[in-house]
């Protein structure tokens, strides 16, 4: 399953976004109005691999270059005139297709 997610990054005025593609579903327990924090995206320092922390899972992914770069365009109507404003450019995607690793935090004191 592919989920579109964007991440902002600045480059020469036009921000550059990236697609986050995940093999699976991102589910939310409770309906919450307003923006929700889904997870944290990090990059390894050494090899620039993206790491996504979703709930109690850690996903290791890789950066891929899109064959066709895409533009995120906003349609505006001003007095019958239609304007398209380029919000961002998408050149690459972050692909998380491997099986996620669980984060076990609640370890019993004594086994």
């Amino acid at each position: 399953m592919v989920v579109f997610f964007s991440k902002s990054e600045t480059e020469s005025g036009v921000p550059e976004w990236a697609i986050v593609e995940v093999q699976g579903l991102i589910q939310i327990k409770k309906d919450q109005s307003g923006p929700t924090v889904v997870g944290d995206l990090h990059f390894f320092n050494r090899n620039k691999h993206p790491v996504l922390i979703l709930g109690h899972h850690v996903l290791n992914g890789k950066e891929m270059k899109l064959e066709q770069p895409m533009a995120v365009i906003e349609k505006n109507e001003n007095n019958g005139k239609v304007e398209y404003a380029v919000k961002a450019i998408v050149k690459k995607k972050l692909l998380f297709k491997s099986r996620p690793k669980p984060i076990i935090s609640n370890v019993a004191d004594r086994i």
């Binding site: 399953m1 592919v2 995940v22 093999q23 699976g24 579903l25 991102i26 589910q27 939310i28 327990k29 409770k30 919450q32 929700t36 924090v37 889904v38 997870g39 922390i53 979703l54 709930g55 109690h56 899972h57 996903l59 099986r99 996620p100 984060i103 935090s105 609640n106 019993a108």
Partner: protein, 861 residues
């Protein structure tokens, strides 16, 4: 005569005690009247059967005392006295047990000391007594000996150290003492003689007693004589040894079998000497051998063993003979077992026999083999090594024979390696069989020395029968003996049995007796082929031979099959009269046999051979006729089963819409099916066919689907792949001519493809039909509940919804104990931000949400 005591004499010795007892208890009824009766009967037989013998034996008995001294008379007296008081005798037995001879000698010793010089007769007497005792010992069990051991000279009565009152003769013994011996007067001598004669004329009194007893018996039973007499006489025969045993050969020259045969077996036994007795076998020089051959020139040709000896090495590296087992074969009754026993004894072995009556299972056989060949008899005084004789080995199961073979093949060197695990053969084994070519003996034949004992020649057999007859005091014409020998066909045993049977009947033999006696043959199995040959050949000598052979062969059903298979070619039969006659007899046979099998009543089983022998009278001819082995019936049965299985598989595979009875299927549908399945097509390519042809192919494919037929690719012996109809209805329809309606291989392939498509189409139809049905059923189901709710809206009441009570969740640990809530909460409190987050991730491996569309099979077709 000296070796074989007269039967009467023997009887005298055996039953002297009983006779005495009988005389005593004659008046009053004895404790066991039956036994008494038996004894009486025995006496009578001797009187009646051999009246001529009797006086002779009497004279003999009298002769002994009359020629000897007074002392023997006294002896006899003492015997009689002892015997008359049975209690005294009993005590003596109890006291001394079985040590008769010791007793005897110790008592004899002082006797000799005192008398040796003067009365040499004493020696003679003691010799006579000893001789008698020995003979008695030979003839009967030891318990009778006591009677003689006590018959010593009565020392006290006839001798004294003081001067006696009776007339005497003075003597000096070895110690220098004076001894006075009694002198008998003429009178006392006579009286003692009288005593003796009284004693011996006991028979006369017994005869009278027997006469009385018989009268009583006759009054009692009142059954007419002949049958009853036979019944009475039978127990007598049980006591007497069979003549076969009685006249068993005791030495090598007594053997009736041919000289080379005996010699071969004996030679083979001697080859074992090296390993058994640890002495070298003396192999004769060829020159000596030639000499021997010259001497016994008549055996030269038949002696196969001689030829073998020169060429083959007779010993293997272990010092055992090359052939480990001697396989003695021959017709029943020629003395194979006797030969084996006698030769084993002659060669210094103790024969141990294992025959068909013993257990033949592999384990039992193995233990028997080991015990017989590895052990040595402890009880036997002479401690001779064993020689195993396996009688009737052709009756043993194959596994047993294989075990024997394996055991024989094991060599001594292997034993050393294995250390006692296997015990190779170290003793000679003689196997005896009737049928050398029995299937179970196949493994044994190559490793064994085969010794064939042929039927005894008529001349030798009749000569031997003459000797036996002479010993048994039967006066018989030599011509009759020759006839008997011819009738026996070399079977010594049956000839002897017939002779003894005739003797037991008490009538003089005549030629008719011999011709009519049916020889009870042992182990005379005829094979089925022999019986069939007998059926198709005329036997001039014995018209009933065919019947006998049929009865001997058994397996009447196979014989009937054999007749059925051969009857058309047996004789020239232009008008089929013979065939009609034969079939009518066979029909009767079938009728009877079917009845027997249906009712499980075998009372008519005896009739079956007669049906077959009637066929013999019709079919027999003088020309040599090659009988075919009956295979057809079996063949046909197999074929029938095969075809029936084809029909039943078609029947089971056919679709319900075309399902009919099996018989109709077989008779009406299957014969026509091949025509339907071979449409006329111009080419194998369906696309090129006309509309009509396509239709016929479609019909063909439909029919194949209906009847569950299929073209299956099979590899032919030539390596090509061919389409074969499965199940093969062609075979049922046209029997063997499968090629009658043959379709082109390419056409077959086309049909097969069409059928595959047809099958898929049908399955698809079935699927859609099922879907429709389910849909229909769903709609009906939906519709149905509607009419049930008939309540108008205004009458309906709202049902209050039950409130679900949420029971407080109780935490339990592993053992089911309730954990206090505080503890659980405390644990929960530990959990951090990560586990509290509302977002979580569900991994879906291999999932892809690419665009999908359903494509139906019918769209492709």
């Amino acid at each position: 005569m000296s070796e074989y005591p007269d039967p009467d004499e023997e009887y005298e010795l055996m039953y002297s005690d009983e006779l005495e007892m009988m005389r005593e208890v004659e008046d009053h009824v004895g404790p066991n009247p039956i036994r008494k009766k038996m004894n009486l009967v025995k006496r009578s037989l001797d009187f009646s059967s051999t009246p001529s013998n009797y006086p002779v034996t009497l004279n003999q008995d009298i002769n002994i005392p009359s020629t000897d001294q007074v002392l023997t008379n006294n002896d006899n007296n003492s015997i009689s006295q002892d015997d008359r008081i049975p209690s005294h005798k009993r005590t003596a037995e109890e006291l001394f047990g079985d040590i008769g001879d010791i007793d005897f000698e110790s008592l004899q010793l002082p006797n000799k000391k005192q008398k040796t010089e003067e009365e040499s007769d004493f020696d003679l007497i003691s010799k006579i007594i000893e001789g008698r005792r020995l003979r008695q010992m030979l003839n009967e069990p030891s318990n009778r000996i006591q009677a003689d051991t006590k018959s010593f000279y009565n020392v006290k009565e006839n001798m004294s150290l003081d001067i006696p009152s009776w007339p005497f003769m003075a003597l000096t013994n070895s110690d220098g003492n004076r001894v006075y011996v009694k002198l008998e007067s003429e009178d006392s001598w006579n009286t003692s003689l009288d005593n003796c004669s009284n004693e011996l004329s006991l028979h006369a009194s017994l005869a009278s007693a027997w006469e009385e007893a018989r009268k009583i018996l006759e009054n009692k039973t009142q059954v007419t004589n002949q049958i009853d007499e036979d019944v009475i006489q039978t127990p007598i025969n049980e006591n007497v040894d069979l003549w076969v045993d009685k006249y068993r050969p005791n030495s090598y020259i007594d053997l009736l079998s041919e000289e080379p045969v005996n010699r071969a077996l004996l030679h083979w036994l001697h080859l074992w000497d090296k390993i058994v007795f640890k002495k070298d076998v003396i192999v004769k020089e060829p020159q000596q051998q030639n000499k021997f051959v010259k001497r016994t020139g008549q055996f030269q040709l038949t002696n196969k063993w001689k030829g073998k000896k020169e060429t083959e090495v007779e010993m293997d590296e272990d010092g055992r003979p090359h052939h480990k087992v001697a396989l003695v074969c021959g017709p029943p009754g020629v003395g194979k077992t006797t030969l084996a026993h006698l030769l084993a004894k002659l060669a210094g072995y103790r024969p141990v026999e294992l025959n068909a009556s013993d257990e033949r299972s592999t384990e039992a056989f193995q233990t028997a083999l080991q015990s017989a060949t590895l052990m040595r008899s402890v009880l036997d005084a002479d401690k001779r090594p064993n020689c195993l004789i396996l009688d009737e080995i052709d009756g043993a199961p194959t596994q047993t024979v294989e075990l024997l073979v394996k055991w024989c093949m094991a060599s001594l060197k292997e034993e050393g390696k294995k250390k006692g695990k296997s015990h190779p053969l170290r003793r000679p084994v003689i196997a005896i069989c009737n049928d050398l070519y029995a299937t179970s003996l196949r493994p044994l034949r190559p490793i064994s020395l085969i010794v064939t004992v042929n039927a005894v020649s008529q001349a030798r057999l009749s000569a031997r029968l003459g000797v036996v007859a002479k010993r048994e005091h039967i006066t018989i014409n030599p011509r009759l003996l020759t006839a008997l020998a011819a009738r026996a066909q070399g079977d010594v045993r049956s000839a002897l049995h017939v002779l003894s049977f005739c003797r037991a009947r008490g009538k003089p033999l005549n030629i008719d007796d011999i011709e009519n006696t049916s020889f009870g043959m042992k182990d005379c199995n005829k094979t089925m082929i022999q019986a069939l040959q007998a059926i198709f050949a005329i036997n001039d000598k014995d018209p009933n031979a065919a019947l006998k052979i049929i009865q001997a062969a058994g397996e009447y059903d196979r014989l009937a099959e054999g007749i059925f298979e051969n009857y058309l070619s047996a004789r020239v039969d232009a008008r089929l009269h013979i065939a009609c006659e034969t079939t009518s007899w066979l029909r009767l046979y079938d009728l009877v046999y079917a009845w027997i099998l249906r009712n499980q009543n075998y009372s008519l089983y005896g009739l079956l051979p007669y049906c077959l022998s009637r066929c013999h009278t019709v079919l027999a001819s003088r020309q040599p006729f090659r009988v075919k082995f009956p295979m057809q019936a079996q063949d046909m049965f197999r074929k029938k089963a095969e075809l029936e299985s084809i029909v039943s598989s078609v029947w089971r595979g056919s679709v319900p819409s075309v399902l009919i009875g099996r018989k109709t299927l077989l008779l009406d549908v299957i014969p026509l099916l091949p025509y339907l399945l071979s449409p006329q097509l111009r080419s194998g390519n369906i696309q090129l066919c006309s509309e009509n042809e396509k239709k016929s192919v479609a019909i063909c494919a439909g029919a194949m689907c209906d009847y569950g037929l299929q073209y299956v690719q099979q590899r032919t012996p030539e390596g090509l792949y061919a389409f074969v109809l499965e199940p093969n209805v062609h075979r049922v329809a046209f029997m063997e001519n499968i090629d009658r309606v043959k379709t082109n291989p390419t056409v077959r392939q086309a049909i097969a493809q069409e059928q595959q498509l047809e099958i898929i189409r049908r399955n698809d139809q079935m699927m859609t039909r099922n879907c429709k049905k389910t849909e229909e059923s769903k709609t009906t189901r939906k519709e149905k509940p509607k009419p049930e709710i008939k309540l108008p809206n205004h009458l309906q009441r709202l049902q209050p919804k039950a409130v679900e009570k949420s029971t407080p969740q109780v935490h339990k640990d592993f053992f089911g104990r309730i954990v206090p809530l505080s503890q659980v909460q405390k644990q929960d409190a530990v959990s951090d931000v990560i586990s509290l987050s509302n977002v979580f991730y569900q991994y879906r491996e291999g999932y892809n949400n690419a665009v999908r569309r359903n494509v139906r099979m019918r769209d492709l077709l």
